[in-house]
Amino acid sequence: MSGILAILERGPGGWHRMSFEALAGALELGRATGEPVTACVPGFGVEAAAAEAAAFGPAAALALEHEALSAYAADAWIEALGALIGAMAPSWVVLPHTYQTRDFAPALAARFGRALMADCTGFVVEGGRPVFERQLFQGKLTGRFLFETPKPNFVSFQAGAFRAPQAAGQRAPVAVQRADVDPARVRQKPEAPFREAAQAVDLSSAERIVAVGRGIGDEGNLELARELAAALGAELAASRPICDNGWLPMDRQVGSSGQTVAPKLYVALGISGAIQHVVGMKGSGCIVAVNRDPQAPIFEIADYGIVGDLFEVAPALIEELKKSAG
């Protein structure tokens, strides 16, 4: 067993941004363990992509090619990567914690009798071994985990855990390998990805946004958020549970499965700041968080924080804004 296999993801539109963050994580694990990193791109017609990845610091790049990998299907990825890992016998397999990784990597690891160390925020080296950190209890605590199994071991890194590397100038050798996968054994029959018919609101161009989370408590209380939005000249948006409940339509959801926004001002009312929400709004110019829990993770990214009850703070804000407008 040796080496680190970093599995990079491409979609119809090109690279998944998190691919290079995971590659950075693999390179850091490589520096910590002294093992060389191979960047692997599964797909069909991905040689040029592998060559591109080769410039970002790995010791080698590999295009893992097959027609059965031209569109994503879980079984195809599990078979192709299972065969590759069986033959290469790497010490570590590193992945970006994308939706696609969520879909296939647990079963890939299970083939080797392993669990995936999923959604890690990073690792530290203690006594010569990497100790991986991941959020538990919705980010309220951090768990430090070890592998107690022999290699290979499987790790995925959360969005933002590592900063994508710079192109190195030096290009590692690129190999093309035909994947060992039998299309007849792929049981999932995927159809083409689609989007819902035109979204009624385009939050991505909003200058100011007031977003509500579960802290709003009840559908009837949304009126308060609407009033604050009106006073600020802002669009109304929400975290997922609000849209799951049907209190606001899906096209007002901000986050990994909703819209990505970058307004000048983002006011988060009663939103805890789960990573899946934060990835959709952390690019905002100025972030204000109102939350009664001083430990809420949203305060890690907020510029201004108010620890308090939104049912007191929001009305006070509305009044203050009206006062100064009049």
Binding site: A73, A74, D75, I78, Y99, R102, D103, P106, A107, A110, R111, G113, A115, A118, D119, Q135, F137, Q138, L141, T142, G143, F145, L146, E148, T149, R187, Q188, K189, P190, E191, A192, P193, R195, E196, Q199, D244, N245, G246, G258, Q259, K264, L265, G285, Q295, P297, F299, E300, I301, A302, D303, Y304, G305, I306, G308, V313, P315, A316, L317, E320, L321
Partner: protein
């Protein structure tokens, strides 16, 4: 269609959690528990499939005695039967998805359902893997992040959520495992009648030998997160906080 739904009992999301003195789990005194949120949606999806196409819904939960309360809740909402896979100690915590899947697998092998629904991810340990590992152990196909389910002849067509507002349909032969994302359908409440009826429904207990079913993840410690704060906190009464904020937004951040 016979559907098995995996429901996990997790600490209530609104309560603070603290590491236990051992540092290897949380202090359990004073905790209250609830049904894992995505699992409530998985149950809802199962009940709707039964209402439209007939069949049976069996709820299963693995853990100590207390998990029977989420099974009662599932029964009150309309599940026909329930299975409690008895598990104590580390295997019951869900830190290792291979162990969790092995516990559920025992119930699936006994029941031989057409479809297994799990939640996408648990709110406590959040490994997001148990359903997929379960499918791998059973040799069944799977799909994750499912937000709609259409039953077909010997197959199921699932709508999967992708990132950034994209979706995709995927068709799988049955039996299969689907992991359900929150929001799949509006959740129902248990009726008084349902709660009454649940008392007469069966919760069967299953003992499982877990020998060798571990995925190799070991919790070495729990800690308060290292918070990297850049936040300027505004103090005072709500009115003072509000006026400070408006001033900052106007003159410091210049966004008003």
């Amino acid at each position: 269609m016979k559907i098995l739904v995996a429901v996990k009992q997790v600490p209530a999301r609104d309560l603070p959690v603290e590491p236990a003195p051992s540092g290897l789990w949380i202090a359990e005194a004073g905790l209250s528990y609830e049904m894992n949120e995505p699992d409530a949606y998985a149950l809802e999806a199962a009940l709707r499939l039964k209402e439209s196409g007939g069949g049976e819904v069996v709820a299963v939960s693995a853990g100590p005695e207390r998990v029977q309360s989420v099974l009662r809740e599932a029964l009150a909402k309309g599940a026909d039967r329930a299975i409690h896979v008895a598990a104590e100690g580390e295997a019951a915590l869900g830190l290792d998805p291979v162990a969790a899947a092995a516990l559920l697998e025992a119930a699936v092998r006994e029941e031989q359902p057409d479809l297994v629904l799990t939640g996408l991810q648990s709110d406590d340990t959040g490994t997001g893997q148990t359903g997929v590992v379960l499918a791998a152990r059973l040799g069944w196909p799977h799909a994750t992040l499912v937000v709609a389910i259409e039953p077909g002849q010997g197959a199921v067509r699932a709508r999967r959520e992708l990132e950034g507002g994209w979706f995709q349909h995927v068709t799988l032969p049955l039996p299969a495992v689907l992991t359900v994302q929150s929001g799949i359908a509006r959740l129902r409440y248990a009726t008084l009648m349902g709660i009454k009826r649940a008392k007469t429904k069966e919760i069967r207990r299953l003992e499982v030998e877990l020998e060798g079913s571990r995925g190799g993840l070991r919790l070495a410690g729990l800690a308060q997160p290292r918070r990297v704060r850049q936040t300027q906190f505004l103090e005072g009464s709500a009115a003072e906080q509000a006026s400070k904020l408006v001033e900052k937004l106007r003159f410091e951040a210049r966004v008003l």
